[in-house]
Symmetry: C2
């Protein structure tokens, strides 16, 4: 927390804090008709456009640790993970509501830092903050963000449209955000109580960036539109590749085969996994928080997607009876399991 | 919490719990195109209809106390306060998203109780649950609900349209929910540690109902439409009449005069205030959680609103320079102050 310049929230109260955080917000979208300041936000979308809504809740101590996550980064990430869900439907994010519950530990400057991050993410993606709720909590910080987007009806991509022989594509690389988290946790443990010692992250900047500042893949959505490719199914990778691929296959009533050798993994991820004595393929499959897009396309689009920057073909869709499998480098086959991050399941505790 | 029949949430995990809570939800609205199960919910509204969005966050220990609030009632109320915000824009609520963060203290049966309450409120108002997020928290329960509604553009009523000479109307009666809270807090203090003794709420049932099971005033919105009355400004009373009236006046750049003798107060509220040695007018002005509607209408609608069941005329709008005032029974004038419930302000601690 900010200790130099600390103004207690009680000096402003709820309405004062909301005013302080939102007073200079300008609405940029034509669809944003009325923002903060009434019982509801009011939006209007063109005829034939569907409204997309997604919501995410982040709890201190479960989803983030403020001992190493700066509040501005937290705000940026909290917004970004919601934008990612809108892109995963092949839509365009337009509005955002921000609900915060905070304990007395936090001061006005802290909330300004958090909001700065949210606003930066919104500005970069042309999204308006149109409402929310600000209240207190007995312990810690809770953030609930809802994002509203739009898409033409015919453009929307669901999870349930994958067909046999479709190609499976993934963007960017996998496992780095998870390695970033491991790195931060390790340094936190090592340097606990030794304030003058600064952790050394040299050569691992990419892992930290992936964990602390994920980017929703609007660029991919645009590339797909420009290339005239409409995926048959799409999802964003928040809980790990395996888990998301199983979602697509279950909802589409198909199976799949992906190839270990084709999984996109950054050099820093591989080095870090080695250091931690972890299997890098496992990290890529189950790490989570990548916020990359996983999608399937008809085989006829092979050439188009092969040319797309930041897109990798990792396998193909099969009949449902064949299940979901990974083919290892040495040709063995393993069943994919949804072992991604799951805060409500006992095994992960 | 339910101790007889307790199934740990860890036996299901996040996805299993969501499935359990949402599997038999059927979408009833034409505008609900796709509900739970993808990255986003998908909605489609007719051309010329605006989309309304409101969101509320409730934190255990701040907004509710589970020692006397049953989880089903909590769910009902959490949904209802959001529906109330949509009605306060003169709109119709259509969809709801439910985000929950829960500690290990809660079991699956608890979450089913909570959801039962949310679903009951939704069923009564024809609202679809289309999404949400379910995750864990280190301590207590956090609930974040977002409601999406619709209204024809020309029907929407904002807070900023009140004009000089407009009549000020309020629905139902005021202060009862606050008295209900005082009653519950008193009984909690008295009977703490004496499990076999049951608190005696005889003759005070209405106060408890107003606190534990508020009803959003759809009936009033319908009456207004049938009578052909469109309010010039409207807001729902969540933080107390004074606070909400000041919102309308500030945003409309007007002043107001309301009359103590016209404030609608139930008999049980008056008796309870007497018992607690509190001024009943203060309770009506600042109590909060009434979830009644406060609105202004042109003087030409005087006859129409006078005939409406459950609507009371309490004063009129004045020039801005005159400020916001209450005229007491003995003809004195006091300035209204926003002393409503404000969890982030020091004075209320």
């Amino acid at each position: 927390m900010n200790e130099q310049n600390r103004t207690e929230i009680s000096t402003l109260g709820e309405f004062g804090l909301i005013r302080r955080l939102t007073e200079d917000i300008k609405l940029v979208n034509k669809s944003s008709h009325y923002g903060v300041g009434d019982d509801c936000a009011v939006m209007g979308y063109p005829a034939g456009h569907e409204v997309l809504v997604t919501t995410d809740m982040l709890m201190e101590g479960v989803h983030f640790d403020l001992t190493y996550v700066p509040l501005k980064h937290l705000g940026y990430k909290a917004a970004m993970v919601n934008l990612s869900d809108i892109y995963a439907m092949n839509g365009t994010p337009r509005q955002l509501t921000v609900s915060l519950a905070l304990s007395k530990r936090f001061c006005i400057e802290d909330m300004e830092d958090l909001y700065d991050g949210i606003r930066l993410a919104c500005e970069q993606h042309g999204v308006d903050i149109v409402g929310g709720d600000t209240t207190s909590s007995l312990t810690g910080l809770a953030i609930s963000i809802t994002c509203i987007g739009e898409a033409r009806k015919e453009d929307i991509v669901y999870r349930n449209g994958a067909k046999e022989t479709n190609l499976i594509c993934v963007t960017g690389d996998l496992g780095a955000a998870y390695m970033g988290l491991q790195l931060l946790e390790r340094e936190k443990a090592v340097f606990k109580g030794q304030k003058e010692v600064q952790p050394d992250f040299a050569g691992k900047e990419y892992l930290l960036e992936r964990q602390l500042k994920p980017e929703a893949r609007r660029d991919i959505i645009r590339q797909l539109a420009e290339a005239g490719v409409k995926p048959t199914a799409m999802i964003d990778i928040s809980d790990g590749l395996s888990s998301e691929l199983i979602h697509i296959c279950t909802q589409s009533h198909v199976g799949c085969r992906i190839y270990e050798e084709h999984l996109p993994i950054d050099y820093q991820t591989a080095v870090m996994a080695e250091e931690l004595n972890m299997n890098v393929t496992t990290c890529a499959l189950n790490g989570g928080e990548d916020y990359e897009l996983l999608f399937t396309v008809p085989i006829a689009d092979h050439e188009k997607v092969s040319k797309m920057e930041g897109v990798k073909l990792i396998g193909h869709i099969t009949k449902e009876e064949l299940g979901c499998g990974l083919i290892t480098r040495d040709g063995q086959e393993f069943e994919l399991k949804a072992q991604g991050w799951n805060p409500l399941k006992e095994e992960n505790k």
